[in-house]
């Protein structure tokens, strides 16, 4: 009896240690979730205007980048939240190929706007929607297990 019960007790002890050691991850934050959904909406709206000149949209572009800087700082300030901070950093990177990179290209490569014959804007929007949906899915999963297929939209 004692010998058969001991392994179970040892298992429970191991489980208890695991519970206290592994359960640390950032909690769900409505603020973080809202930063992600708002930045997605603002990005899609601004990019839709990229057939126009950068100078005519400079204020909105700079406001969006500031929003993303705020969201990055917010994410980076939360413990055990490395993935969300890394995603924000990639999204805003002016040398990357996501939001920051698009705005840099608009300013330097096609300051007068993307050619009317080009499908670049629509293709970019499709890809950047995926980028934001992964971040939104991560934020949703902090609250409860959520399939990313249910978040995408």
């Amino acid at each position: 009896m004692v010998f058969t019960a001991f392994p179970k007790k040892a298992l429970m002890l191991v489980v208890a240690l695991m519970l206290s050691a592994c359960a640390n991850y950032a909690a769900y934050s409505l603020q973080a979730y809202t930063y992600a959904t708002e930045a997605k909406a603002k990005t899609l709206k601004l990019v839709s205007k990229a057939n126009g000149s950068y100078s005519a949209n400079r204020a909105a572009a700079e406001a969006l980048l500031l929003d993303m800087d705020v969201a990055y700082e917010f994410a980076a300030g939360i413990e055990n939240n490395e993935e969300a901070a890394e995603i924000w950093d990639k999204l805003r990177d002016p040398d990357g190929n996501l939001v920051g990179g698009f705005l840099s290209a608009w300013r330097t490569e096609f300051p007068g706007g993307v050619s009317a014959n080009s499908v670049f804007i629509e293709e970019f929007k499709k890809n950047i929607t995926f980028s934001f949906d992964r971040l939104i899915c991560l934020e949703a999963n902090k609250g409860q297990a959520t399939s990313c297929a249910d978040v995408a939209g």
């Binding site: 019960a5 179970k8 519970l19 359960a23 490395e82 993935e83 990639k90 991560l138 399939s147 990313c148």
Partner: protein, 106 residues
């Protein structure tokens, strides 16, 4: 209180919890990865066609191709974060199971 019965119930419950959580996450991660790969293949073929038709410039084509690489990284980073979040939920469920099983026995 029958300690052995309580421990058996906890052990059985924990096993089910872990199996279900691992299977669900593994299936979702695999489905997300396969969907991304399939969609990327289709997109890259379409970009090449659009470039040939003059509907994408060389700069735009390169940008979109690099964007796929960035999105592959985002997929991996987010999957890691989601896995960590799911482990947190699993640990909480395990705590709840242990406490409720013990309380039900006393």
């Amino acid at each position: 209180m029958d300690t052995d019965a309580v421990l058996s119930a906890i052990e059985e419950g924990l096993t089910d919890l872990i199996k279900n959580a691992a299977k669900t996450f593994s299936n979702e991660a695999e489905r997300d990865l396969k969907a991304f790969v399939k969609e990327s293949e289709e997109d890259i073929r379409r970009y090449a066609k659009l470039f040939a038709e003059g509907k994408l410039s060389q700069f735009e084509l390169k940008f979109l191709m690099k964007m796929k690489t960035d999105n592959a990284e985002l997929l991996a980073i987010s999957a890691k974060g989601i896995a960590r979040a799911r482990i947190k939920h699993l640990m909480n469920s395990m705590k709840d199971l242990i406490v409720s099983t013990i309380l039900a026995a006393v």
